[in-house]
Amino acid sequence: MSAAPGPDDGRLRRAFLEESEELVQKLGETLSALEASPESRELVNEIFRLTHSLKSEAALMGYTSLSGLAHLMEDVLGQIRSGDLALSRDVLDRLVAGADRAAVLMNEISQSGKESESGAEDVVTGLSTLIADRRRPVARPASNGAPPAGETADGNRETPFNEVELRRIAEARDRGESLVRLTVTVTPDEPMKFVRAFLVFSNLEQAVNVIKVVPAMDGAPVDDSLYGRTVFYLTAPLGGDTLKDAARVDQIASVTVEQMDYPSGGSPRDGSGAPAGTEMTGRTAPAEKTSIRVDTRKLDELWSFVAELVLHKAHMSRLSDGVARGMDAESIREELVESSDSLEKLSSGMQQAMRDTRMIPISIIFNKFPRLVRDLSRKLGKPVDLVLSGEDTEIDRSIIEALSDPLTHVIRNSLDHGLEFPEERVRLGKPERGKITVSARRQGGTIVIELADDGRGLDTDRIRQKAISLGIPGAAALGDAEVRELVFLPGFSTKDVVTDLSGRGVGMDVVATRIRNDLRGDVELVSEEGKGTRIILRLPLTLTIVNSLLVADEAQMYAIPLSDLDSTAKVPAAEISLQEGGEAAPWMGDTISLYSLAGLLGRERRPREEYFAVVLRHGESRGFLVVDELIEEREIVIKPVDDLVNPLRLFSGVSVLDDGQLVFILDTSFIRRDNF
């Protein structure tokens, strides 16, 4: 708490409250007006005055948080007035956030006479970064003429590039790239600032040339708090989205992207400034307040819930009027029950819609791999082809973050230890270039990520030997699958044993722990000596969205993920024949197995002349599944289903539809099992 004025200042305080409350209120109103007409200089001036007055009033009374905040806003508005800062949507948002914060502080002061000393750091950071950027060299010549001499000099002082860096910058300039300064501010209360900044760093590394990072990123952080604000100097073909995408990391409070003049050769503005200026139109990107990016479709959905909520509110006030007018108890009861039902649905719908906004495509991680593989492959002298698939698979952003390290680790291992050197590969009759495939797909309620290489695989005999020599009980009797599991044992791989033995590298235990414990998933390692290794991660997600076909058996609906479907079909009863393994029917010149949903659920299929069916697919396998009804395609959010309700693994998940109805998602992998 900041030092509140002394107790005798009652009258002064009252005056302050009256005055300042009005200022804060006007500030909000004027900002709204400015939002409506952002071109108005008058409004900007008015807001400037308001913040200035508020700053003075608050400072007089010793309310440092409020006066500091007002001061920041005043500075920002000063820049807008002078034309140094464009009044973008983002800047407006930050000002509005500032005004909101001021109102909160004002409220605290009027309630208790004290203001919070901390809190809402993001608001403050959001504003202060705008000011911190004031001295950016202006790339667009048209914006406000020649920049004052001090500015570029100042810019140079901030960027002491060493010789190597200058050479890399010069190369980038020759390639026609722009020099960009990207400033990342981590949410102040984030305990692991270095980690956040490092995530941005590694993302950037994949996309662009990072020249220099301040504070430096190599090695463990000496002082984590230094990374609250990290500046990246980089060169990139074009600014814009790539850079902002790279900074799409949780707990990043703000990101600013500024284009810089090239520091090399003579005046900073000669030669280098001009081409850059034409490439990047004006200010590259307005500073971003948060890293959340949401599909408008998802927002629309949320909005529709809000609309419903408003209707609901209207209904409640009608009901309340009714009660006041002496409506009879029975009607009130009925209305209340109905109302509470709909509110229940509404809130769970909103909850779900909100959760949906957290889903992002896994390409965020996958996009890092080409660079990683290229670099490692060059370093190790092992040419590799990388094949990625399923990048669009959407997964929860918290899971994405936790996945990045283990996946990187596994790929690194493949290159390091799995793949042989080209000469050895040729000698073994393998293609000279190694191959690593990474794929993601949704299998019902799980996400399956597979990382495979065509390297040397695991030598299970030697691992077993080693296990015996380490005194692992029962090691001699272990089967191959169990031996492979040893790789995941902490202490086994970290002793470099497995590395020595040709297998996986250090730290598979870490991967396993992360996946199994933190993400509640599973890791499986399949390997054939001499042929390669496949690591399969299964992540049971609390949320995953799957496009599905809803089908019905009697009155109950079930869902089949479209990825498991080939097509829909009608199967005449006459075409169904009895084969050894069960029923079958012709399809596309072939005969494939025929199952029925009723049969799976333990009932008799109702005889018909012609059946509705879907054609299921799993890899190369196809099979008919007869259903009572084909309903519609729907995007559904899959939740895991407990083993207790699903002992046969009939279902891969369950989903709650908008109306609260439960739909189980069929696990159709049985068609594959049967074909094995």
Partner: protein, 179 residues
């Protein structure tokens, strides 16, 4: 570890021998008194809206939709092999009583959330760890398999459920798993 500490902190300070006591939610099944650790209980609700699921485990009458989460409900009576007649007796005679007093105790076990359908929920009891008899040979049959201990308190016998086993979908489900 943390969890145990928390539970201990909640426990009654009146533990006579100074050994820690743990707090349990007690309930009735048939004629017996059972209990589960209070720190694993999330909520207690009236049974409603149970959707049956084809081919679920035999003691699972279905699932409920609890604020958007789909939670399996275990009939503890079915799980422990207690007959309906016993249940009626325990509830004071009539089947109607059983229905009106039945509750679902929503419990959390690690990342799993499950509902336990019981005949009646009773008081919260502090059970001294030292008084828990771990090897129970007093209650034979299905009970022994699912109880992690027995404690006597004011003349009443409390069977402490072993939730891990009660909710295991493992071997004992193999029977159900045969189509």
């Amino acid at each position: 570890m943390m969890k145990e500490d928390a539970a201990d902190a909640q426990g009654s300070p009146s533990s006579a021998q100074g050994s820690p006591s743990r707090r349990y939610v007690s309930f009735i099944l048939g004629t017996g008194r059972y209990c589960v650790p209070v720190d694993q209980v999330m909520q207690i609700i009236r049974p409603q809206g149970i959707l049956s699921v084809p081919k679920a485990a035999p003691f699972v009458p279905g699932v409920i939709n609890l604020r958007g989460d789909v939670i399996p409900v275990v009939s503890l009576r079915a799980r422990l092999g207690i007959s309906d007649a016993q249940a009626a007796q325990g509830a004071g005679g009539t089947a109607g009583n059983v229905a009106s007093r039945a509750r679902i105790i929503i419990i959390r076990m690690g990342s799993r959330v499950c509902g336990l359908m019981v005949d009646d929920v009773r008081e919260i009891v502090d059970i001294n760890e030292a008084s828990v008899q771990r090897e129970s040979n007093q209650e034979p049959g299905a009970h022994a398999q699912f109880t992690g201990g027995v404690a006597q308190r004011d003349g009443t016998l409390f069977l402490i459920l072993d939730l891990q086993r009660v909710l295991s979908a493992g071997r004992d489900l193999q029977g159900a798993a045969q189509v």
